[in-house]
Amino acid sequence: MLAAAQKDEKKDQALKNHVGHPQTGRDCPFTLLNSPISHTQYPYVTGTSVLGIKYKDGVLLASDMGGSYGSTLRYKSVQRLKPIGKHTLLGAGGEISDFQEIVRYLDELILYDNMWDDGNSLGPKEVHNYLNRLMYNRRNKFNPLWNTLVLGGVKNGQKYLGTVNMIGVHYEENHVATGFGNHLARPIFRDEWHEDMTFEEGVKLLEKCMLVLLYRDRSAVNKLQIAKITEEGATISEPYAIKTHWELEAFKNPATGAVGSW
């Protein structure tokens, strides 16, 4: 009797296309019931480097506006720097949709924080720690948010700059970079960054690094934004391009020496 009832149940299940997964309880196609749960993703639309430095009045972040689809520079107006609340700026490299999701989480966090309306507010340190918890927990579930994040802010005169990535590695520093910026920009930061740079000096340093990235990072586009956060608040510049130079001797008369043998 019991065996027959169980057989019926299996048949019922087979008739439905989607059933509850025995392990997660979530919706699952019947045909995948016996396959292992696997979430590891691949990024689809990605942003490249983000740079961040502390300066006299606060923190400066820089990124370009490119969203690559594999090797195609598909989207050229993706804003990868976003303000979070009054005290923080967030920049992201990696999967753009995951970044949008993170911004949604943080906006909700800041909303509830504001709703307390009690004179207390979450500063950059708190947001950074929250993000770290988020990223690390996702990583532990083998379903990461495929991003490297740069978080900068000022609260009560204290400047803060930190980074978190998709596996939950996080730290604070005076200058940070993601992606290619780690290899191309940070050596320049190490040589040229110093405490209490002025805004102009900071922008110049960032533009210098963005130029190197533009030349050498194939996923960089020449449309960038610089964001600044100070005690007064956050501002993100309008997009602009930087001048590149191609007048190298070696580039002139490219056909010279192109003698063919057949």
């Binding site: 009690d118 004179g119 207390n120 507010s121 340190k125 708190e126 720690n129």
Partner: protein, 269 residues
């Protein structure tokens, strides 16, 4: 209060718009021994009288450290107080884990009040029978709150709850305007004096009087009984008026003083 037909459960309103069970719960608070809290611009002090069951037993623990920056004094059903303290500790540590930052007192107090409110609207849980004085420090400075079984919370400059708290409050009312400018030690003395007023019988001494402080630059800690005894003794050496002079016992953050009650209180809890 007299028994009436509307006081059987908390989900029954009286025709006058009262919830008697909640009010009875607040009576339980009034049965507990006195707890006093007072605050200055830099510190908050909690002082309590701990009853002892008998000569052989220890004195009631009425002050709980919730986090480095928050502590609570209870009056009423001690068991309820303990459970709520545990809950508060859990909330604080959870916030710390998420944000690497201390939970603002005001938010903890509201969460606690909301928790108490739930019990005033269910027929299967009774209201908590404990009143809490929550002392804490946050971004906006030192704060003192009172939490009631009714789910209400209030912020105070100084307050007293429990048995004969009115006597303590009378003293506080006389002096509270001076509290914002008081030093840490002056504040402690005011607290002990006001709690003395609430003592019915027996003498205040280092064992039955619990004192705890939290302030800017000072984590929440309970003073040890020896220190408390010394302060109590020094009070008896002079009139009820806290001295305005800078006698060594009451010393500020000075360097050379043999003021032992000024010594940094050990981190007891």
């Amino acid at each position: 209060m007299f028994r009436n037909q509307y006081d059987t459960d908390v989900t029954t309103w009286s025709p006058a718009g009262r919830l008697f069970q909640v009010e009875y719960a607040m009576e339980a608070v009034k049965q507990g021994s006195a707890a006093v809290g007072l605050r200055s611009k830099t510190h908050v002090v909690l002082v309590c009288v701990g009853k002892a069951n008998s000569e052989f037993s220890s004195h009631q623990k009425k002050i709980f450290k919730v986090d480095d920056h928050i502590g609570v004094a209870i009056a009423g059903l001690t068991a309820d107080g303990r459970v709520l303290s545990l809950h508060m500790r859990s909330e604080c540590i959870h916030y710390k884990f998420l944000y690497d930052s201390p939970l603002p007192v005001g938010r903890l107090v509201v969460q606690l009040a909301d928790k108490a409110q739930v019990c005033t609207q269910r027929s299967w849980t009774r209201p908590y029978g404990v009143g809490l004085l929550v002392a804490g420090l946050d971004e906006t400075g030192p704060h003192l709150y009172q939490n009631c079984p009714s789910g209400n919370y209030f912020e105070y400059q100084a307050f007293a709850i429990g048995a004969r708290s009115q006597a303590a409050k009378t003293y506080l009312e006389r002096k509270f305007e001076t509290f914002p400018e008081c030093s840490r030690n002056e504040l402690i003395r005011h607290g002990i004096i006001s709690v003395k007023e609430a003592l019915a019988e027996g003498k205040l001494n280092g064992s039955n009087c619990n004192v705890a402080v939290v302030g800017i630059g000072e984590a929440f800690n309970t003073l040890d009984s020896k220190t408390v005894q010394q302060i109590i003794d020094s009070l008896e050496d002079r009139a009820d008026e806290p001295p305005v002079d800078v006698a060594p016992v009451e010393g500020e953050q000075g360097a050379v003083q043999d003021d032992t009650d000024q010594a940094a209180a050990p981190m007891e809890t």
